[in-house]
């Protein structure tokens, strides 16, 4: 039960899934499509975005969003790979690659946001 870390990965996947369900679409709409389409050019100016992101709450928000998006992906992709390739989800190379990448991304997010 608590020997396995599985419940933790699932919880992070579930929280990440919930967070991204609420937040990712609007982020992509504005930061991806809106940016390319030229909506509110002033809003994307360097000074404005830098100021916005520098706020401690914004840094925390971005850290949580980036980290949990990656942890959500890692758990889901690990199982998807296992099902598509007919290997066990517990096969180490897949788990290591997925969670490893997510943890690396989390660390980088922390470093980049602290050093902003």
């Amino acid at each position: 039960m608590h020997r396995s870390v599985e419940p933790l990965w699932w919880l992070l996947f579930a929280i990440g899934g919930t967070l991204t369900a609420f937040l990712t679409p609007i982020h992509i709409l504005i930061g991806g499509i809106g940016l390319a389409a030229g909506w509110a050019r002033d809003a994307f100016a360097y000074d404005h975005i830098r100021a916005l992101v520098s706020h401690p709450l914004a840094r925390l928000y971005l850290f949580v969003l980036i980290s949990l998006s990656l942890l959500h992906w890692a758990h889901r992709f690990r199982y998807t790979l296992a099902e598509a390739l007919h290997v066990k989800p517990s096969w180490l190379p897949v788990s290591l690659a997925c969670y490893g990448a997510a943890v690396l991304g989390t660390i980088l997010a922390a470093v980049f946001l602290i050093r902003l």
Binding site: M1, H2, S4, E6, P7, L8, W10, L11, A14, Y79, T80, A82, E83, H86, K88, P89, S90
Partner: protein
């Protein structure tokens, strides 16, 4: 005027005789009030007495007659010919189970996994008869009733790709029944089921494909049972990690 007919294609397999299963076609009368089970019975009575298949109540409560009909797991007593007429109906044994003969599958795997979740009321104390019966409010009954409707027909196993890929997964019905007892107010056995439920063969194998609940003829919603147990088990895990000295 000739009475209408349709084609029934049945996967046959005779152990010791056939190398591999093969389809056999039968021309059967079409009656708009017939179900596939009626068609199978017609074949066995009139056309080919060697056909083997399971059935019993013919009204969707015994769980015996599960088969694949045009690739979908169904109770043969609940699938009307008129849903398919005039196209041919393909009947195959339930997916993800080994074939004993024709449409008869071996359910040993399920029968062996089911008792591992202790699907019975477990109590810390034995209640003497003199204390009378257990009482439950409608709300207490409602908490587990849906999961108690399982007829062990195993359509959910035929629908579940994880069960197909992972031999040790206990499967949807077993987990739904574990949930049924965990949520019963008379039961004290949740912790003793956790070894299986939260173990390597339990809920964590499930990726919420959800086809189990779609296939279930009794509306049990095993996918829902499993999701709830994932959440409960994950919160257990957090509690054990954060408060290891807590009562467990």
């Amino acid at each position: 005027m000739a009475s209408p007919t349709m084609t029934l294609e049945v996967l046959r397999y005779r152990p010791g005789q056939d190398h591999a299963p093969e389809f056999q076609s039968y021309s059967i009368p079409y009656r708009d009030d017939w179900v596939v089970l009626d068609a199978l019975n017609y074949v066995k009575d009139e056309l080919d007495g060697t056909l083997s298949y399971r059935w019993s109540c013919r009204m969707g409560v015994c769980g015996s007659c599960g088969v694949m009909i045009n690739g979908t797991p169904r109770l043969s007593c609940a699938a009307f010919l008129k849903e398919y007429y005039p196209r041919p109906v393909r009947v195959e044994p339930l997916n993800h189970f080994p074939i004993e003969r024709d449409l008869v599958i071996s359910m040993n795997d399920f029968m062996q996994k089911l008792p591992t979740v202790k699907p019975w009321i477990i109590r810390e104390d034995a209640r003497p008869l003199t204390e009378g019966e257990f009482r439950q409010t409608p709300a207490q009954l409602d908490a587990y009733k849906q999961f108690s409707m399982c007829i062990n027909c195993m359509l959910c196993y035929a629908a579940c790709p994880v069960y197909a890929l992972e031999p040790r997964f206990v499967g949807p019905a077993v987990l739904a029944l574990a949930a049924r007892y965990n949520l019963d107010s008379r039961d004290h056995g949740r912790t003793s089921r956790q070894d299986i439920v939260a173990g390597p063969e339990g809920v964590w194998e499930c990726t919420l494909v959800g086809e189990c609940s779609t296939a279930c003829p009794k509306g049990v919603d095993p996918a829902g049972a499993i999701q709830q147990m994932k959440l409960a088990s994950a919160l257990d895990w957090v509690r054990n990690v954060v408060l290891p000295w807590g009562k467990r």
